[in-house]
């Protein structure tokens, strides 16, 4: 079996499994959300501070909340079949448009945070494993423990106080300087400046996990026969560490990264709130508070699809890393 047919098989299987998974997620989410007390009309009326029976009824009729539950589910699924995520009562805009407006921001934040976490985690882990039991291992272990046990929002707030309020180096929030009308490189630099603190904050927890994971996996692989053989061949210790040990130690790491892809979407809500970053996590959080179910269902659907795609990517990556996987 060639590598290509093997990987195509994996991709085909994952895609087929995704269809019932997505359907189940949509139906389950729908009923879970309907279990929450109150609806969008309650929230709008409550925030407005003044409402009448007539305005409430008008709001419910407008949002279709006066329909029976199964009818609502049916119309949602039929919209979905036409690739329509529905309409947000709160934002008075199509859900697809709301999500697409936020998606780039979330992807920037997630990918930079995840990339930072993987690179820093693997480097730290490799250093710790290479000098296991010696002082670099000890120092980095303490650091990893500290990052692991400190809540992200707190790190974020401290970072704001230090880098924005005290030092004035970085903006305290937002995704881009408003009204600056930047283009090209200047725009990218501006976004990077705004993304630096939230991405680093989001990454801290995962840096700690990946460092510990890499360390443990590498120590285990180091005891294997092929590593001894490599050493016996007279290879440079660094080459053995990187080519033979690290590559084999990456298997558990890639699995975790795949799982964390979903966690990051959830964890991003907190970071996005602290840094006023207009991303999907905050959209979801606001949607919960506003009982804006169509937006929430849309975000959840998209998140689950992102997780499925990420897992597909991880499956393919693992197949490439380890030829034994089919």
């Amino acid at each position: 079996m060639t590598r290509r047919t093997r990987m195509a098989g994996i991709a085909r299987r994952t895609v087929w499994q995704a269809v019932p998974t997505v359907f189940a997620i949509v139906v389950l989410n729908f009923f879970l959300l309907k279990l929450m007390p109150g609806d969008a009309a309650d929230v709008l009326a409550g925030e407005a501070g003044s409402a009448t029976v007539e305005t409430l009824a008008a709001l419910r009729a407008k949002f279709g909340l006066d329909q029976p539950l199964l009818h609502q589910l049916g119309s949602y699924l039929s919209h979905l079949a036409h690739f329509n995520l529905g309409y947000s009562p709160r934002y008075d805009a199509p859900v697809m448009q709301l999500i697409l407006a936020r998606l780039p921001n979330t992807l920037i934040l997630m990918s930079s945070a995840l990339a930072f976490a993987v690179v820093a985690g693997v480097v730290f882990g490799a250093i710790m494993a290479h000098w296991a039991g010696k002082w670099p291992d000890r120092v980095l272990s303490v650091l990893a423990l500290l990052l692991y046990s400190t809540p992200g929002f707190w790190i974020g707030l401290l970072a704001i106080i230090l880098f924005s309020v005290r030092l004035g180096w970085l903006p305290s929030g937002g995704d881009v300087t408003v009204g600056a009308n930047l283009h090209g490189v200047a725009y990218a630099a501006d976004v990077a400046k705004h993304a630096l603190l939230p991405a680093a904050t989001l990454a801290t927890f995962f840096v700690a996990i990946y460092a510990r994971l890499t360390r443990a996996a590498m120590l285990e692989v180091q005891r294997q026969d092929f590593v001894r053989t490599a050493h016996a061949k007279g290879l440079h210790p660094l080459r053995v560490s990187v080519r033979h040990v690290l590559r084999n130690a990456l298997m558990p790491l890639t699995t975790m990264v795949g799982i964390h892809f979903g966690t990051l979407l959830g964890g991003a809500a907190v970071t996005e709130t602290v840094f006023s970053w207009p991303g999907l996590g905050r959209l979801a959080l606001d949607a919960v508070m506003a009982r804006d179910f169509s937006v929430l269902l849309g975000v959840l659907l998209l998140s689950s699809m992102l997780v499925i795609i990420a897992n597909l990517g991880i499956d393919l990556l693992q197949a490439w890393l380890d030829p034994r996987i089919t």
């Binding site: 305290s172 929030g173 006023s276 506003a290």
Partner: protein, 546 residues
Amino acid sequence: MDEPNAQNRHRMTGINRRHFLISTGATLASASISSLAVAQNTQTQAPRRGGTLNMLINPEPPVLVSIFQTTGPALVASSKVLEGLLAYDFDLKPKPQLATAWDVAQDGLKYTFTLRDNVKWHDGQPFTSADVAFSIELLKSVHPRGRSTFANVTRISTPDARTAVIELAKPAPYLLKALSAGESPMVPKHLYVSGDPLSNSHNNAPIGTGPFRFKSWTRGANIVYERNPDYWDAGKPYIDSLVLKVIPDAAARSAAFETGALDLGGENPVPLTDLPRLTQLPQLVTETRGYRFLEPLSEIDFNLDHPILKDLRVRQAIAHAINPQIVQKTIAYGYADISPTPITPASPYHDGKLAPYAFDTATADKLLDAAGYPRKNGGPRFQLTHDFLPYGDMYRRQADYVKSALARVGIEVTVRSQDLPSFLKRVYADRQFDFTSIGVNTLFDPSVGVQRLYWSKNIRLGVPFSNAPHYSSPEVDRLLESASIEADESKRVGLFQQFQQIVYRDLPILNLVAPRMVTLANRRVRNHTVSAQGLEGNLADVYLRV
């Protein structure tokens, strides 16, 4: 400048918009606050043109037009683009905005408005009396409060393009106070006449007559307005652009004020716990004026269907066990006036003769014993659950105080927290509550803001901020109904005072304090609060000092 008066026949044409900013002690809070509230009224320098004002908007409004949405941020966002017929000074006396003169007939049944000449919508169309007639009809049909404010309107005629006449079946003494930009915005008829006004695309990209034009709305981040160079008040506005920033996290808002990313924020932009620290900073000042249209009130609503709380003696005991001064000083950090009645001290209808129930645990104990709930060998008399409105942090702290205060008289209280939709459903729809700490806005007139809380015809299941206790008194109903159509001001005062005395005695709601909202501003921002509307005004006068 003539002082317009709703009761007497009068005509007002004076336009002297620069004659403002006289610190009005009546609307200001207690001494402890006015010392903090650095008035920005020393106007020696001429306003400077240019600059960008970064203002907080929190939470993000669902729409940018307040014709059918009365949530605070929507009013803040709307009033910069869409104007009203009138503006108001700090005493709620009307001033010209889109109307330059107005005339109220003696019997209170006919209002004639003369409109400003040469006003254009941002798309270039002229503003005429047809827009006014259309907007008021729209307010009457879709605005949550407009339905009742304009309920007595029978006919709106437009004899010419600059005159609008409103005719009423019964007097509506609050009508002249309801014509501000935020409460009753004038929308362009030519853009709203076709289709459903609630899903009009201009609700998210407004076209108005105001000093600022809508530029962009990046949801979750900011709303950007730019200066309208063709504004009818030539020379204004002074700033080039206005950015409303969405910052959901309270600590991040404090940091943004410190870094200068925010210049201005209203309605308690930072937690009260952060205020003392921030006001120490040389660049930040506070302002407590400009909230007369909201006039919040903190209260405890009893569920009168509850087997224990339906006993007046139990409610009286609770009133005697809670010290409003602690609520004022500790819960509200001094930013509050004590108000034992639902009509707050800032209102001309407030009955100042009513003092809070004396803080006296011995009296409370006696009342509870008399009600048949003795202490059971050191244990509590009975248990209650207390819910609080999850809005800001004040009501949560008030609930904690209620718990500790009532423990002293032998009532064991469990504080229950939930998010806003759950709370509203629990209290107003399911009625699964005992008593609750809640805040309501009593607004610019008791008939609009207070009547709904006590009127038995407003016992409406599922409607937030209706009559939560399910209080029903024919006498109160009669007084409220008479006051809402009483054209004689002194008679109206009398009716409202009788009403306050009855509900003070019947105690369906224990009124505690009228919190004073705080505006936080960078010192370089001048003239942000020039009217009773505060930051819900149009900000045409605001300028940035160098």
